[in-house]
């Protein structure tokens, strides 16, 4: 798994690629925690290049969202495709998160 971050207006885009599973979830979690620690409270997670996400990866997303909420921040999900989109639907993340079809739409919503 590889993670790239970049500022886009008020938001910070986190572009993950590869697989987010039990093996890679810890480094995924620490990358997001570092951003929150730096005061980046509006995060957009671009899932376009993520091939697979397991329940371990889903838990990291939930924990990050909870942490941001406590600091009046927000986490938006964008660009989920194929298997990743299916897992998000199965797990019911659609009711908990704002999931956007494209990165542009997510950035617009982020303000």
């Amino acid at each position: 798994m590889d993670i790239q971050t970049r500022p886009e207006g008020r938001a910070t885009v986190i572009s993950a690629s590869g697989k987010i599973d039990a093996m890679t979830a810890p480094s995924f979690e620490s990358s997001i925690s570092d951003l929150i620690g730096e005061g980046k409270l509006c995060l957009v997670l671009d899932l376009g290049a993520v091939e697979y996400i397991s329940s371990a990866g889903l838990r990291v997303i939930l924990a990050s969202a909870k942490s941001l909420k406590g600091k009046s921040g927000k986490l938006l999900l964008a660009n989920a495709r194929g298997s990743v989109q299916e897992v998000l639907e199965i797990s019911g993340f659609g009711t908990v998160f704002s999931i956007y079809d494209s990165l542009e739409a997510a950035l617009e919503a982020a303000g």
């Binding site: 039990a22 093996m23 697979y52 897992v87």
Partner: protein
């Protein structure tokens, strides 16, 4: 029921109105006219005269019309249920010329009948041979069907001929204008314009050909001298049955059968947005219709019939695949056999107009073939099956005369790029299957790091078996979710064995280990539960597995947990 793709205006079960049926039928016939050159060539090579050639063309039209209607039948043992017109099959050309030169037209008709009889028999057993026609085989045939037409299309497009191999400016102008109009109508045209794209392009091409003087005096004379009505009279020849000459027809029929499979697979794919595998009942019925058409042609004194790839491509290009168009095409072919003047309009079609139409239709055909090939995961052996076959096929046209020394009886195989590629892809697929196990086992240590081997293992299995990538993705998700949960929840401290088995319809996995099974009865956790309780992640895993598998079971026997998962393929 098949899901109609959004790019179709009239799907297979829909009904265009009467005048649309007539125009669409004429569009198909205009594409079919090229194939009527073949009987003329056979008669000429056999030393026959013009009236024999005309009769053979007329009988081929009647047989083709009958075959096109039979092909569209949905119920009963005959017919595929699709619009898949029948034309004089190029696969039969070299066998027919060989028989005609050696023993006259009687041998051609006898050979055509018995060759087609072989296809009829083949159609009855093809369902049991499905494993020999996976998507990479049928996709290669479909792509090659398109590629085979290129040597016919490009010389006409550029105005080349055997005596003068230089590009003619006027021909090129007509071809480019015709193709441009067809493409513009297809890409930017609204429904009606797109439906008649070929006809609009052809009218443009005819007009420009007239203005630029491309009609030869012979073509003008042929059109003017053609009668308005004439009864088609079969010229019966005494059958000459020579088994040595019939064998090439059997080989030609085999090629024709495989091409028919490719055409019918294309029909299935373009009519079903959710298509994922061949419907063998439809293929079997379609092959029988193909055989009946060719047998009828042999009896009447026509040329061997085969499904027309160009017409299948045309139906995709126009977005009209209604089976009622097949009735229109069949009926119009019958009528045209009685109306020489009307038929002459198509017979004198300028070469660049034919070339432009073929380039347009064939481009769709080749891409559909490639889509079928890549609809499954490919490993090295499958890539070689496809790659070597395409190279062999292309060698026929790219290296002319390279197979000149091949014995006459097997010459039909090497006579066209399609035949050679088809035979090659079938044989290589059978040979390269040696050593591919239908069942595989993976042993996993119960630690997070060893979970990485799951991805590689599943990918290798998927490629070797040529499975659909989305099914392998789901199977990988089930195993990974289970494995992670197993490790986190410490369900076992010993090795975990996973066995996976595949056939074209099923993917089954059995996971066995010493320990307690995963609890699949718990409810899906809420977001709050997931954050508050680590055990809730296990429940989420169970939910993901439950929802991903099509069928599953879980049991515990003497301290051993056995989990079974099934996915439809």
């Amino acid at each position: 029921m098949a899901k109609k793709p959004s790019n179709l205006i009239y799907g297979v079960d829909e009904a265009p109105c009467f005048y649309e049926l007539i125009i669409l039928g004429l569009e198909h016939i205009s594409v079919m006219t090229l194939a009527f050159v073949f009987p003329v060539v056979i008669v000429q090579e056999s030393g026959g005269n013009m009236s024999q050639a005309a009769a053979m063309v007329q009988m081929s039209m009647i047989a083709g019309g009958l075959g096109t209607i039979l092909q569209s039948l949905k119920k009963g043992p005959i017919g595929s249920g699709y619009l898949c017109p029948q034309v004089c099959g190029p696969s039969f050309l070299s066998a027919s010329i060989l028989a005609g030169k050696t023993a006259g037209l009687g041998a051609v008709f006898a050979g055509t009948f018995f060759g087609a009889f072989f296809e009829a028999l083949f159609s009855r057993v093809v369902k049991r041979l499905r494993q020999f026609f996976p998507p990479e085989v049928t996709g290669t045939v479909v792509a090659m069907v398109g590629i085979t037409v290129i040597p016919f299309a490009m010389p006409r497009f550029l105005g080349l001929n055997e005596t003068d191999p230089t590009i003619k400016a006027h021909d090129l102008i007509v071809a480019v204008a015709t193709l441009s109009v067809i493409c513009a109508a297809t890409i930017w045209g609204k429904k009606k314009l797109r439906l008649y794209n070929i006809i609009i392009g052809m009218v443009t091409g005819y007009f420009l050909s007239y203005v630029l003087g491309l009609f030869t005096p012979e073509q003008t004379e042929k059109f003017l001298s053609a009668g308005y009505f004439a009864l088609p009279v079969p010229v019966f020849h005494e059958w000459h049955i020579n088994w040595g000459l019939i064998l090439p027809f059997v080989v030609a029929s085999l090629c024709s059968s495989l091409k028919t499979i490719g055409d019918l697979v294309t029909c299935q794919k373009i009519n079903d947005a959710d298509w994922n595998r061949m419907d063998m009942d439809s293929v079997s019925g379609g092959m029988l219709a193909d055989a009946a058409s060719a047998m009828g042609s042999g009896l009447l004194g026509g040329m061997g019939q085969s499904t027309s790839s160009s017409n299948v491509a045309l139906s995709l290009a126009t977005g009209a695949t209604s089976r009622r168009i097949a009735w229109s095409v069949g009926g119009l072919l019958f009528v045209l056999a009685f109306l020489p003047k009307f038929a002459a309009i198509f017979v004198i079609m300028p070469a660049p107009v034919i070339g432009a139409t073929l380039v347009f239709a064939v481009s769709f055909m080749i891409v559909v073939g490639l889509q079928i090939i890549t609809s499954r995961m490919l490993d090295a052996r499958k890539m070689l099956v496809v790659g070597i076959s395409i190279i062999l096929g292309l060698s026929v046209d790219m290296v002319p005369g390279v197979y000149a020394g091949v014995p006459g009886w097997i010459q039909p195989v090497f006579s066209s790029s399609l035949s050679l590629a088809t035979i090659s892809v079938v044989i290589l697929n059978i040979i390269f299957r040696i050593g591919v196990a239908s069942k595989k086992t993976l042993i996993l240590k119960p630690d997070v790091a060893s979970g990485q081997s799951i991805y590689e293992f599943m990918d290798t299995c998927g490629r070797e078996w040529g499975a659909r990538p989305e099914i392998i993705d789901r199977a990988t998700r089930i195993v990974t979710e289970f494995f992670e949960t197993c490790v986190v929840s410490r369900l076992t401290e010993n090795d975990i064995q996973m066995e996976i088995a595949f056939d074209e319809f099923n993917l089954d996995m059995v996971i066995t280990y010493d320990g307690r099974p995963l609890d699949f009865s718990a409810e899906k956790p809420t977001a709050e539960e997931l954050l508050a309780d680590d055990a809730a992640v296990t429940r989420l895993s169970a939910e993901i597995i439950r929802r991903t598998a099509d069928c599953m079971s879980c049991e515990e026997k003497a301290g051993k947990a056995v989990l079974r998962f099934h996915l439809d393929h």
